[in-house]
Amino acid sequence: MSARALSGPGLSIREAGWLPDRRRQAIWTVAALALVLAAVVVAGTLLADVAAKPDLMARRQPPSLAHPFGTDWLGRDLLARTLVGLRLSLMVGTLAAAVSASIALVLSGVAAALGRWMDTAVSWLVDLFLAIPHLILLILVAFALGGGISGVVVAVALTHWPTLTRLLRGEARRVMQSDYVRLSHHLGKPGWWVARHHLVRHLVPQFTVGLILLFPHAILHEAALSFLGFGLPPDSPAIGIILSDSMRELSSGAWWLALLPGFALLAVVKSVDVLGEQLRALTDPRSVHE
């Protein structure tokens, strides 16, 4: 009987059937979200000066048509500052995710290809970096680099590669131990050839998945670092800084200073998350049939 075996109870209609338009739906969401994020980045670039322009006469104004997000304690337009901040977060997120993902790719490749000793060294390094709670390690590294944009990017990058490395290393080891790789060893193919041919092709989808999943984390941690005061200079419009400034205004009732930028950050992080999920569903060979 060729139809799917239907003995397993508990299959609901959605899970039983494979919806072809799920692929189309995924493509649409990816396109829409990519457009939104691109819009944020472009807006952030254009509004840089507006975001910095104080207006001492219009301080702490509630949301209005002129200022959809209201104005902050120096009369600067909060929407402009939020957009510039989001652009900054996205940039830092991209850079940090890319750096940590490539560290992971290199280390996991090396661990898998260059023998046991290297493998234990890498896995011990991963355990070491995962031994310290994420945010405390972030503070240590940010302190070591003295804050500033480069400090934040490196700090976020240095704390995100371990999880991905462990994932990729596991995958790489599975590939290296699989039959066809052992076969190519027997056929006399050198280590680097094996790595290039088999390893890379397998690691790339995992790599993209890992890179995408790192993204929201990187953005959130950049915001957290800036919020705590380890990130960027206080007059720069980073989301973390806007929110930490808003803490001072709470008792003066300027609720929009805290809530609206936070919602914007949540929206961006969520859209990156969903974008990543959909991309993973589209590209990962295994899940494409889901």
Binding site: M1, S2, A3, L6, S7, P9, L11, S12, I13, D21
Partner: protein, 309 residues
């Protein structure tokens, strides 16, 4: 007295193919089975012939996207969804296939006691101990976990749990695979004993030989239809007393007999032939066979769906 009577049962599943087009898979079409109290009926057929589905239907455990047709009578009355829920575990019980049906993280004693509690036993612990003793299971087994049971022990525990509520109808779903000889014999003897004590027993198996030895009657399933219901005794000699060509082919395929397997495979549920489902592989097929689905008719002491019988 016939306890369970399945008449012209049909089960189909609704699935979405390309775009939003819906498609119906008729997995079970025209299934009949009659089981009387004290009678052991073996249900035999290839895998995917709808055997397990029948069991799930009777117990009301079909998945939500299943569409059911035909009638199931129990004790003379129609067995609707709610009634199945009430009887499940109390009057109708399932003996599952393997130890994987037992909860891996709970002790078997507790699971059995829980089953007793479900059927309303006043003293579930006591009921559990008695059930184990009745099946010669030492008391210490109660403290073991499913992964610590040997094959034989597992079978006895499963049977103990299923029959803790003195069910009137027991359905044993493929109890024999993966066990060695004496355990198979012991399991089948246990089912025989249940039948002799007045319980209606349905033995679902693909092992024709074992079924014939212990069953009173045999129902042969093919591609979701009951090909033939006949006394177990008919499976003897050269199978002449068997009316349906598929039953005969099954009997001849056994190693003890001619050992020549039937060519081809069962038709797929999304494009079933219009006429008899067996038509493509049937040596006696004639034009009418393609025309319409044969209805069950009594020929000698067997009920058969074949116009050529």
């Amino acid at each position: 007295m016939t306890l369970l009577s399945v008449e012209d049962l049909s089960i189909s599943f609704v699935q979405y193919e390309r775009g939003l087009r819906r498609v119906r898979l008729d997995v079970v079409t025209g299934l009949d089975l009659q089981v009387a109290t004290g009678e052991l009926v073996a249900v035999v057929g290839a895998s995917g012939s709808g055997k397990s589905l029948l069991a799930h239907a009777v117990l009301g455990l079909l998945p939500s996207n299943a569409v059911e047709g035909g009638k199931i009578l129990y004790d003379g009355a129609v067995l609707d969804h709610d009634r199945r829920g009430e009887l499940r575990g109390r009057e109708i019980a399932l003996i599952p296939q393997s130890v994987t049906f037992l909860d891996p993280v709970a002790r078997v004693g507790k699971q059995t006691a829980h089953a007793a509690r479900l059927v309303g036993h006043p003293k579930p612990e006591q009921a559990m101990i008695e059930a184990f003793r009745r099946r010669q299971l030492p008391d210490r087994v109660a403290r073991l976990y499913p992964h610590q049971l040997s094959g034989g022990m597992a079978r006895r525990v499963l049977a103990a749990i299923a029959t803790i509520g003195r069910p009137r109808l027991v359905i044993a779903d493929e109890p024999t695979p993966g066990l060695h000889e004496e355990v198979v014999a012991e399991t089948l003897a246990d089912l025989r004993r249940m039948a002799d004590e007045g319980t209606a027993v349905v033995l679902i198996t693909h092992d024709l030989e074992a079924a014939v030895d212990v069953a009173d009657r045999v129902a042969v399933f093919y591609a979701g239809t009951t090909a033939e219901q006949v006394d177990a005794a008919a499976f003897s000699g050269d199978g002449r007393r068997l009316r349906h060509p598929y039953s005969q082919a099954l009997w001849r395929a056994l190693p003890a007999n001619d050992f020549d397997p039937l060519a081809g495979s069962q038709p797929s549920p999304d494009d079933l032939p219009t006429g008899c489902l067996f038509v493509d592989r049937c040596p006696l097929a004639i034009d009418e066979c393609h025309a319409a689905r044969p209805d069950p008719r009594r020929v000698g002491d067997s009920l058969v769906r074949c116009i050529r019988a």
